[in-house]
């Protein structure tokens, strides 16, 4: 367990109800509990990945119910905290345990052992599946939005993927991973129509994060927006939304102002991401280039800042031979400082080195650039490829039919029973 580390899982029950969720690890080594409030609110619970016995108990005075089921909290193979969504949803169709349809009896046997239940959920049999007309919204535990029966609703190509799950009439917003190698405290706010906004931590791994909104929406003019909740997120969100050159300059000027004043805690990460954004939009004035060079001096621990400085020195330099030396020096410094945090930083460094390798005046610089390029490529190939900037580096990545991750269980919570069904084909 220690090697896996705590992760944050988000739970939600949809109907107006209040319930207590108790998660008990099957090996009895970890137990946690939380109160879930119905509606649109979500509750974050820190837990270790693994197999749990979950108990969901209603705290409502009107209808008391409780469920116990086995739950797998996914590992996802990462060592860093990764937010995941688990939404638990009560059925909208009330029916009592006594009047339970016989088809569902076939599918869910009261008193069935949790392990058997889980196995059935995973490998379930077609025989016991409830007929289609009885299919109701249920709860899902998901790592990915790449489900069947979806379609793209907006033209936010490469930014957000908004889907209506056709069989549930639910809106799913799949926020693609931002351009970070680690969770740098970047939060964004997602808004769908007039629904309450959801603040999420920026996803950093290839699965992204999926936010489910439970509203019946079929209209084409669905308004979905993503807003930065912090300065750090501002540049990255701008990268997601296909920013214009003028907008990029305004973002950088803001970053310039915050890092140039006597601010006690200037956010150099924000400034670096803003500078990368500016380079990407190819609108670097001499004045901003000087600020970029200064940024690298003030933030020597950020490798991407050195890449920014390399780019800036090429913009303001006069003597080609001297510029080539400076560029190479900055890029070597960047690599020695550490792995570039932003994939855009990597891409820009590789672009400069590729150019130096073939065009440098001095053959020594050419050879050094060639060797340095191999180092950068080696690092890049061992980096998790997931980012907002990545959509420029590897077009089309985000619309793969099969995204990493999979739905591990689907089910319905009704009165006195939990019905699980086979997950969609991954």
């Amino acid at each position: 367990m220690s090697e896996a580390g705590l992760r944050q899982y988000t739970f939600r029950i949809v109907e107006d109800d209040v319930a207590r969720l108790v998660l008990r690890h099957i090996n009895e080594i970890f137990t946690t509990s939380s109160i879930l409030i119905g509606g649109e609110s979500v509750t974050a619970v820190d837990a270790y990945p693994g197999e749990y016995i979950a108990t969901l108990e209603s705290l409502s005075d009107e209808r008391r119910w409780s469920r116990q089921f086995r739950l797998t909290l996914p590992l996802d193979g990462q060592l860093v905290v990764l937010p995941k969504n688990i939404s638990a949803r009560k059925s909208h169709q009330p029916h009592s345990g006594e009047n339970r349809p016989s088809e569902e009896r076939k599918y869910f046997h009261p008193g069935e052992k949790p392990m058997k239940l889980l196995a059935r959920a995973h490998y379930g049999s077609r025989v016991g599946k409830p007929p289609r007309e009885r299919k109701r919204p249920g709860f899902s535990i998901g790592l990915s939005a790449a489900q069947a029966g979806i379609h793209h609703l907006t033209d936010l190509v490469g930014k957000l993927r908004v889907e209506i799950k056709s069989y549930e009439r639910r809106i799913t917003v799949n926020l693609i991973p931002l351009d970070l190698d680690w969770n740098a405290g970047v939060h964004v706010t997602l808004k769908v129509d007039e629904l309450p906004p959801v603040v999420v931590s920026a996803p950093i791994f290839s699965g992204g994060v999926t936010i489910n909104f439970t509203k019946q929406v079929e209209k084409p003019d669905l308004r979905v927006s993503i807003e930065p909740s912090s300065l750090r997120a501002k540049a990255l969100v701008a990268a997601l939304s296909g920013i214009s050159a003028d907008e990029a300059v305004s973002i950088v000027e803001w970053a310039q102002a915050t890092t140039s004043t006597a601010d006690d805690h200037p956010d150099y990460w924000y400034a670096t991401s803003a500078a990368l954004l500016l380079i990407k939009t190819r609108t670097i004035s001499t004045e901003l280039a000087r600020w970029m060079l200064n940024l690298a001096r003030r933030a020597p621990s950020i490798p991407d800042a050195a890449v920014v400085a390399a780019w800036a020195s090429a913009v303001i330099g006069d003597d080609p031979a001297e510029v080539e030396d400076q560029v190479l020096h900055h890029l070597v410094t960047a690599r020695r400082t550490g792995r570039a945090v932003f994939s855009a930083g990597q891409a820009l460094a590789i672009e400069l080195l590729s150019s130096l390798r073939s065009s440098a005046i001095d053959e020594k610089v050419q050879r050094a650039a060639h060797n340095e390029l191999k180092e950068w490529l080696l690092i890049r190939n061992h980096t998790i490829k997931s980012s907002a900037f990545q959509i420029w580096e590897q077009p089309g990545q985000h619309i793969k039919r099969k995204a990493p991750g999979h739905i591990i269980a689907l089910g319905e919570i009704g009165d006195n029973k939990l019905t699980m069904r086979r997950p969609p084909h991954p």
């Binding site: 289609r132 007309e133 069947a148 029966g149 979806i150 379609h151 793209h152 609703l153 033209d155 190509v157 490469g158 209506i164 056709s166 069989y167 079929e218 209209k219 084409p220 296909g242 214009s244 990407k280 939009t281 190819r282 609108t283 670097i284 780019w311 090429a314 913009v315 330099g317 080609p320 510029v323 080539e324 560029v327 855009a344 891409a347 820009l348 672009e351 400069l352 590729s354 150019s355 130096l356 390798r357 073939s358 065009s359 440098a360 005046i361 060639h370 390029l373 191999k374 490529l377 959509i391 420029w392 580096e393 590897q394 077009p395 089309g396 985000h398 619309i399 039919r401 969609p424 084909h425």
Partner: protein, 376 residues
């Protein structure tokens, strides 16, 4: 080098360079007719759209190495009697010297503000630094430096825009990025053909991104049949003819963004191909390539289980607002339903009738295409 179309135009214009290299005298087993067929298909496409480009088409330069004929016999049918400067149908072959000269001529024709389009279909390899290298006809005629007959297309993509001051540069390369032992084992860098090189200062000051898409990822193959149009080329022509569009200033435009992000979906929905293109450059600018009057989007409908769709007694696409309307009906019996829909940007509905039940599936009709899976 052979100019096969030369139309005098004032103002911004588009210059096209097309390479179709399928004959390799030093590696006869590598001969591939699909490269030539693909190049000719692209040629037909750019000629057909000559007045729909943002900057009208001015010139087409074409090099062909056709494996079905001997060297020196390569031909391309005349595109336009009035503007084809050739006396016969002959074109030059895609040898290293010809390709270098053709690339330089193509760039020198470009005035500031013009647009450039480069298309190539041939074999491709990649070296240790993950460059895309195109195999030219006379590869490997030199045992001392095999790179002499390889075109460094990544370098071309990087350097064309700063060298020419073009308003936009579009490069589509249908080739593998296969890793070959003879290149990987080289101690030194592969000295491939680089028709133009600019220094790093010129490179960073250039304000124009080049859209350069290659049909494969590093170390992978680009798939094609022995003859006929290659899958990537087929998809890009289809997409640029019909659905990779955005609405700008009241017209539908094929844009860089949609080409980048919609090509895979187009290939999947229209042909069932699973393409994995990659970019040789970072491209994020808002550029328009050509306009389309009446775009249509591909629609792919499948079902799980397959019999759900195959055994349906009737299936129609209807307007969501007018449930009795029928836009298109499915032919009986097929487990996959592929069709085209006019790009109406409104809610439509798949209406499916089975023996036991009725199924309605709403979807929003928009570019670049729609892939739906119905659940039985």
């Amino acid at each position: 080098m052979t100019l096969i179309y030369d139309r005098p135009i004032s103002g911004p214009k588009t210059h096209v360079l097309i390479l179709g290299i399928g004959r390799f005298p030093h590696m006869a087993s590598a001969n591939l007719g699909a490269c030539v067929d693909s190049a000719k298909a692209m040629l037909d496409f750019v000629y057909a759209k000559r007045d729909q480009f943002l900057s009208p088409l001015a010139t087409i330069e074409c090099l062909i190495s056709d494996p079905s004929v001997d060297a020196g016999q390569d031909q391309v049918a005349k595109t336009d009697v009035q503007f084809d400067p050739r006396t016969d149908q002959g074109v030059a072959a895609g040898t290293a010297s010809n390709v270098t000269a053709a690339c330089r001529a193509w760039m020198s024709r470009c005035q500031p503000g013009d647009s450039l389009i480069f298309y190539a279909c041939t074999h491709g390899v990649a070296d240790r630094t993950e460059r895309g290298l195109l195999v030219l006809e006379d590869y490997p005629s030199s045992r001392f430096n095999p790179g002499e007959q390889l075109l460094d297309v990544a370098s071309l993509a990087r350097n064309v825009a700063p060298f020419t001051s073009a308003a936009s540069v579009w490069m589509f390369i249908d080739a593998c990025q296969e890793t070959r032992p003879e290149l990987l084992q080289l101690k030194e860098d592969v000295k491939a053909v680089e028709p133009v090189v600019v220094n790093v200062m010129q490179s960073v000051k250039c304000k124009v991104d080049t859209l350069a898409l290659i049909s494969s990822r590093f170390g992978n193959f680009a798939r094609t049949k022995k003859s006929g149009v290659a899958f990537f080329t087929q998809s890009i022509i289809e997409g640029m003819s019909n659905n990779l569009v955005e609405q700008k200033a009241g017209k539908w435009w094929v844009t860089g963004k949609l080409i980048q992000h919609g090509l895979q979906l187009t290939a999947l929905a229209k042909f069932g191909y699973n393409l994995e293109p990659s970019g040789l450059t970072s491209f994020m600018q808002d550029k328009r390539l050509l306009s389309i009057d009446e775009p249509v989007v591909p629609l792919l409908i499948t079902s799980r289980p397959e019999t759900f769709l195959a055994n349906s007694t009737a299936a129609h696409i209807r307007e969501d607002a007018a449930p009795n309307s029928i836009l298109i009906s499915k032919p009986p019996g097929t487990p996959e339903w592929r069709c085209h829909l006019p790009l109406v940007r409104q809610m439509l509905r798949v209406h499916l009738l089975n023996v036991t039940a009725e199924h309605n599936e709403p979807f929003y009709c928009e570019a670049p295409g729609i892939v739906l899976e119905l659940r039985g």
